[in-house]
């Protein structure tokens, strides 16, 4: 008889505890990781200018040539690890709203009346979000460059820095504007290929970002020489299977390129292919229907590679609610093995065509906290995996008129993907630190970006949100 860990967390809200609880599995088992609770300290780095209230694309981090690079609020900045200030690397230009994008601008909430704004010559940032950041060395190049995807009303762009200096737009020859979409938000190095894919654009709903799902065929582009801009489609549109939706994550693990496609009704899909000279590659579906969590797992929000496994985080939205108010649902973590099989690490137990899936960690959705709606960042550092959450508790408290805010983002760590422990909980004492949207590390240090919603603090204090400003990023360092 096969005995399987008895698991839980299977409620609609995702707020129950997790697997193995009946067997007494400790939810917070000791974890042998290089960074433990209390191991992070805030850097004296003020938020660089440009984080407007409600700024989209609220943070991507990379360590490139010894410097910390931050993409946030339409700008890129760099800082030496111990520096007390940021050096600007790129600022998106402002551009007059044109009639061809006026409707999209309205839909995304940038202007109330797109046609009127275009007629009045209203100016908007050319790129409304920046990230992710990926280091890649193209064929024939002597050193790595740092690439950054952008989201723009006029079509997503690719920015490139070849050295410690400024970013410039990289050519995207081979990717027609209509195939590029508005958001070039998925980017990954896959062997000697740089992969890029259009993702769902983000729009604001009551200060929270939500994906605006696309019904266009999913597309993945690849280039071995992105510096000069020779791009090809490495997948058939929709993987040749009619798969529609934006690609929210690209990754490379155990010799395979991975692409995660958003699906608001059915759940995300994960596809993979082995890179080769001839395009398009042979893609196969690895995970279907949100890992059979369906509409409660429409989006893959982060990926990382540790050992032989690809780790991925799936969720619904920052608020915990999705299309047509589906939800609430909290974040899950899964991992894919080299043979294409997958396991549930954190999440809701379920029956599936891939077998009984129980969270191996013993933790239910959101690491056992139903307010951890997303895992927004994942990174492998010094042999351990770190996961930064988005926490909706303070937002919920605010809406309910609570006298005091509670909750706050969390950072969890695991050496093996199974046993997890918190490094940071409850926003490190600041419930308005609602997210840890970005993580990065190199040989020297580990970095985490904490996002504080100042408008939330203002509202809790009875002030008008406009008085408080928008978002504030705090960079934490460990190691």
């Amino acid at each position: 008889m096969v005995k399987t860990p008895k698991t839980a967390g299977g409620t609609a809200s995702g707020s129950s505890a997790g697997a193995g609880a009946r067997r007494g599995k400790a939810a917070k088992a000791p974890v042998d990781a290089p960074l433990a609770a209390g191991g992070l300290h805030p850097l004296p780095l003020a938020t660089p200018a440009g984080l407007a209230p409600g700024a989209l694309g609220s943070g991507a981090l990379a360590v490139f040539r010894g410097r910390l690079v931050l993409a946030a609020g339409g700008a890129l900045h760099a800082a030496a690890p111990d520096a007390r200030g940021w050096e600007p690397l790129f600022a998106t230009p402002w551009r007059m709203l044109t009639p061809n994008v006026a409707e999209t601008a309205e839909k995304l909430g940038f202007v109330e009346d797109g046609a009127a704004a275009a007629a009045m010559g209203v100016q908007v940032p050319q790129d409304y979000a920046l990230g992710p950041l990926v280091a890649f060395q193209g064929r024939g190049e002597r050193k790595e460059s740092l690439y950054c995807g952008t989201s723009s009303l006029w079509g997503g762009r690719l920015l490139r820095a070849t050295g410690p200096g400024r970013f410039a737009e990289a050519p995207l020859a081979g990717i027609a504007r209509e195939r590029r979409g508005e958001a070039l938000t998925a980017l990954a190095a896959a062997g000697d290929w740089l992969l890029a894919a259009p993702g769902p654009v983000l729009h604001l709903t009551e200060r929270r970002r939500a994906p605006l799902f696309s019904d266009r065929p999913a597309r993945v582009f690849g280039s071995r020489t992105p510096g000069v801009g020779h791009w090809q489609e490495v997948a058939l549109p929709g993987f040749g299977a009619g798969v529609a939706g934006g690609v929210t994550a690209l990754a490379f693990a155990h010799g395979h390129a991975y692409a995660a496609v958003a699906g608001p009704d059915r759940g995300f899909e994960l596809w993979r292919a082995a890179p080769r000279d001839e395009v398009p590659w042979d893609w196969t579906r690895v995970i279907d229907r949100g890992g059979h969590r369906y509409s409660h797992a429409p989006v893959v929000t982060a990926t990382a590679v540790l050992g032989d496994h690809l780790y991925l985080a799936a969720g619904i939205s920052e608020s915990g609610f999705g299309k047509d108010h589906a939800g609430p649902a909290a974040a899950e973590l899964l991992r894919v093995a080299p043979d294409g099989g997958w396991e549930l690490l954190v999440g809701r137990p379920r029956f599936s065509p891939d077998g009984l899936k129980v969270p191996l960690s013993g933790l239910g959705p959101g690491f056992g906290d139903g307010f951890n709606t997303l895992v927004q960042s994942l990174v492998a550092w010094r042999g351990a995996l770190y996961a930064g959450t988005r926490n909706a508790r303070a937002d919920y408290d605010l809406r309910k008129g609570a006298a005091e805010l509670a909750g706050g983002a969390a950072l969890w760590v695991s050496a093996d993907g199974v046993d997890w422990a918190p490094v940071v909980e409850n926003g490190a004492g600041n419930p308005a630190m609602t997210a840890i949207p970005a993580l990065a590390g190199d040989e020297a240090a580990f970095y985490a970006a904490g996002l504080t919603d100042l408008a939330m603090l203002a509202a809790a204090a009875g002030m008008a949100a406009e008085e408080a400003g928008g978002l504030e990023l705090e960079i934490w360092r460990g190691g």
Partner: protein
């Protein structure tokens, strides 16, 4: 004592077939619909379901006849009825304990009364009696479930229902989901009935793994024969049914037919709605959560 399994679902959601199968597991005992969640005492339950005549009381009568007399003939049913009428003060917990004793303390009771889901208090009552019980939430597509409800009512001459079957589907599912939030680790799992029935061997094994009961081939094979249950027939004239009549008329599973179960789309007009109305947004949202597209 092995904790019981409650299959929770609105009526016409494959509970009879699935309950019949799980009840034939060698470590289980499949109960007919006993409706014991309908009140705090046996008397409360009896008074509340008696208006539904045989559909409400036949299950408990047949079960008690089987336990007390090892048969379900008219005389045994008369004695079962007397047994109930003499014990209106017995709590549901005491009745369940009596049943557990009768079927054997090592057998997992499998219960599937759809009335359990008519309100969340019924489900809570079960949980109070069995804090460690397992709950399997079985779902069926709202479109085919609604049509099945209407077809059954038509075949028994009950005419059109007073409420839209879609509303009953949604209310029961909502009750279950709300209740599930109160459950402890590992107590609740959801599965689409269509998925299970298209490949019963595959999913029954997963259910056994979840319940930590034997998932070997012999146990799975036993579950593929719900017709071997003592309750898999129409029953005596004074206590007919106690389960889905269609299932009881033909409890031998047709796996070829089951493998072809289809799931219609959620979108589009619904045949029983006036003016080709569609399923509500709330119903579609909930159905998508269960895996319907």
């Amino acid at each position: 004592m092995r904790e019981p399994l409650f299959i929770v679902a609105p009526p016409r959601s494959y509970t009879s077939v699935v309950g019949g199968m799980l009840g034939q597991h060698p470590q289980a005992y499949g109960l007919p619909e006993v409706n014991l969640s309908h009140g705090d005492t046996l008397g409360d339950m009896w008074d509340s379901v008696i208006v539904a005549a045989n559909f409400g009381t036949a299950g408990i009568l047949r079960l008690l006849a089987q336990i007390n007399d090892s048969r379900q003939d008219e005389a045994a049913v008369v004695r079962a009825r007397q047994w109930i009428l003499r014990r209106p003060h017995w709590s549901a917990k005491r009745v369940f304990a009596y049943i557990q004793d009768g079927v054997g303390p090592d057998r997992m009771m499998v219960e599937k009364s759809p009335r359990n889901t008519f309100n969340a208090d019924n489900l809570r009552r079960l949980h109070q009696v069995f804090p460690g019980a397992n709950f399997l939430h079985l779902t069926r597509h709202p479109r085919t479930q609604g049509k099945s409800v209407l077809d059954l009512m038509k075949s028994y001459g009950e005419g059109k229902p007073s409420t839209d079957p879609e509303k009953n589907w949604h209310r029961s599912q909502k009750n279950i989901l709300e209740f599930a939030r109160e459950l402890g680790p590992g107590q609740y799992m959801q599965i689409k009935g269509e998925m299970l029935l298209r490949d019963p061997k595959f999913y029954l094994r997963q259910i056994c793994q979840w319940l930590e009961i034997d998932d070997g081939d012999a146990a799975i094979e036993a579950m593929l024969h719900p017709e071997t249950s003592p309750f898999a027939n129409i029953g005596p004239p004074s206590a007919p049914f106690g389960n889905d009549p269609n299932f009881l008329l033909n409890p031998v599973l047709d796996f070829g037919r089951l493998a072809k179960i289809k799931e219609p789309p959620l979108e589009g007009p619904v045949e029983w709605k006036p003016d080709e109305g569609a399923l509500s947004l709330a119903t579609r949202r909930m159905a998508r959560q269960f895996g319907y597209a």
